[in-house]
């Protein structure tokens, strides 16, 4: 085979091969023309959120207390890389533990890293399931996490106060009883008085 004929064959091979490659590509697109579209018609059909979907943080509502358990320890505030959590808390009257009185999250700053959830000592932080926040103003993304807990919190605090009072009373009673061991008659009188009450 001379060089010229080889060049000619190569030229033909190139041209025909090129043509064939174009046809192969067209076959692929044609095949896809008859496949089912994969589009999700988003606002009409909403896909399920994934199992561990991360969004703005929210407070867990515990079964037994019907409220959150944020004790305003400030650990999440300190670990937050975006400085987007602001908490205030104090000791409610008649209670030993602190409770959060204000809990704001600026979701516009949050990077959903989950560090706050990791450090929470009472496990009262979780991811919420909201995903379609839209607003015209930045401060609309500052969420007050305690809003939905206000009523429950009042009830819980009332209950907790009673429990604490009862506990206190019982403790005093026990202390009194211990004291009465030494002075038996006085103790007897005291117990009688209690019964009369």
């Amino acid at each position: 085979m001379t060089a010229t004929t080889r060049a000619k064959t190569n030229y033909l091979v190139t041209v025909l091969g090129g043509l064939f490659s174009l046809l192969a590509g067209m076959l692929i697109t044609l095949r896809n023309l008859f496949r089912r579209p994969v589009t999700e018609q988003y606002p009409k059909s909403k896909p399920a959120l994934s199992k561990n979907f991360r969004s703005a943080i929210a407070l867990v509502r515990f079964e037994e207390t019907q409220t959150h358990d944020c004790v305003a320890c400030m650990q999440c505030v300190q670990i937050c890389p975006s400085f987007c959590i602001a908490i205030e808390g104090d000791k409610p009257e008649g209670l030993k533990r602190k409770r959060a009185t204000e809990f704001h999250v600026d979701y516009a700053l949050c990077s959903v890293c989950g560090l706050c959830i990791d450090v929470c000592p009472t496990n009262t932080l979780k991811y919420s399931r909201v995903y379609d926040q839209v607003a015209y103003r930045r401060d609309a993304f500052v969420y007050d996490l305690l809003t939905e807990f206000r009523d429950a919190e009042v009830a819980y605090l009332e209950k907790a106060r009673q429990e604490a009072a009862a506990k206190e009373a019982a403790k005093q009673a026990a202390a009194a009883a211990r004291a009465n061991k030494d002075t038996a008659p006085a103790a007897a009188n005291a117990s009688k008085e209690l019964e009369n009450d």
């Binding site: 192969a24 199992k51 959903v112 890293c113 989950g114």
Partner: protein, 386 residues
């Protein structure tokens, strides 16, 4: 290994790039920072003679977010969410790389299961990055349909990772010592199904793109980064492997448990855009291989150490830790002064060096080639700017 590189080989190249012919009418063209195919906010100031490029000056910094400065004001843990935002296309790899670097400083042992999950997620992330690159590269050179096919496949990965990590792009999945969430059998089944699916799809990609005569014409011999240029500019990743150097951090200094898996380092010899394309597509296949092995071998067990540390306070010292990201060698240089806050974290990002080689590659090509070349080296601008 490259042959002995001559000092100054590149500067000779630069001198000759203007050619000897007198320049008639030349002009400057600002390509970017807003341009359909500048992948973010890259600006190339092109010095043109007609459509022929005489010189190029890349201008970067439009997406500078001061990650390194932020690191000096946060403790080690608080820097975690930053990592996946440096290169948002391989966020998982960056996130886990930072975890591994700090673990090395703190001498934390990572449970077996967590190591396997890390490998699976990193490789899934690498494939998703390559698929995105595949799509946008084709978009750059005018093929729109492959872009959507690639995104369809990438969507599967995002869903798998979303289910376990809770995010689709900027993962914050790693923790010092392990991970935030354990995976379940559904994850493993999904991953297996994805491996099978992509294996079936790749031949379609080859028929639609790899063999296409127009595509080959656009890529063959275009933007050659040869071994000398690669060495001079510190080019790493698929761009380096396309020049025939089988350098992969996963092999060169294995991190995590990469030494337990069998995989090849795909290389090409020509160093042009087509070679880079072929290397990346071959890497997708290798990543699938790694995932397959990891899914088959994954042991049961915890994903965090039994007694996780609460305070992360490494001793004073320095560490350079490198991983193979989808774009090349990603290095983290941590300097600790013994406090809870890093003294300095320097991120050595692959695209920074890869893009820096452009002035040696682009001259004497055309505008259309510029698009193909910048697309083929797969730059992620936020990663360059940090």
């Amino acid at each position: 290994m490259p042959t002995r590189a001559k000092a100054g080989a590149v500067s000779e190249r630069q001198h000759s790039k203007l050619g000897d012919a007198p320049l008639p009418e030349t002009y400057h063209l600002n390509m970017g920072p807003q341009h359909p195919s500048m992948h973010g906010v890259l600006r190339l100031v092109l010095h043109l003679d007609g459509e022929r490029i005489l010189d190029v000056d890349p201008v970067i910094g439009y997406a500078h977010r001061a990650h390194e400065k932020m690191a000096e004001h946060r403790n080690y843990l608080m820097f975690l969410p930053n990592t996946s935002r440096v290169d948002y296309l391989s966020g998982m790899i960056y996130n886990l790389a930072y975890c591994q670097a700090v673990e090395k400083m703190l001498e934390i042992e990572v449970p077996e299961r967590a190591e396997y999950i890390r490998v699976i997620c990193s490789e899934l992330n690498r494939i998703s990055s390559h698929l995105l690159w595949f799509g946008t590269f084709l978009l750059d050179i005018g093929g729109i349909t492959p872009f959507l096919y690639a995104f369809d496949d990438r969507e599967q990965i995002l869903e798998i990772l979303d289910r376990v990590t809770g995010s689709r792009l900027t993962y914050c999945y790693g923790r010092f010592g392990g991970l935030t969430e354990d995976v379940d059998t559904t994850f493993l089944d999904q991953t297996r199904a994805f491996v099978k699916r992509l294996r079936e799809r790749l031949p379609e990609y080859h028929a639609l793109v790899t063999g296409n005569v127009i595509f080959r014409g656009r890529c063959e011999g275009v933007g050659v980064i040869d071994q000398h240029v690669a060495l001079a500019y510190g080019v790493t990743g698929p761009c380096l492997r396309a020049a025939g150097i089988a350098f992969d951090v996963r092999r060169a200094e294995p991190y995590g448990i990469y030494d337990r898996f069998e995989f090849d380092i795909p290389t090409e010899q020509s160093g042009d855009a087509l070679a880079r394309y072929k290397v990346r597509v071959a890497e997708i296949e290798q990543s699938l291989r790694i995932i397959e092995q990891a899914v088959a071998q994954i042991p049961d067990g915890p994903i965090m150490p039994d007694k996780p540390k609460k305070r992360f306070k490494p001793a004073a010292g320095e560490l350079y830790f490198a991983v193979e990201s989808a774009r090349g060698q990603f290095g983290i240089y941590i300097v600790s002064d013994g406090s809870e806050i890093p003294f300095r974290i320097k991120l050595r990002t692959p695209s920074f060096s890869n893009l820096a080689a452009m002035p040696a590659v682009l001259p004497q090509t055309t505008i259309a080639d510029t698009i193909a070349i910048v697309g083929s080296i797969d730059v992620v601008i936020p990663e360059i700017d940090r």
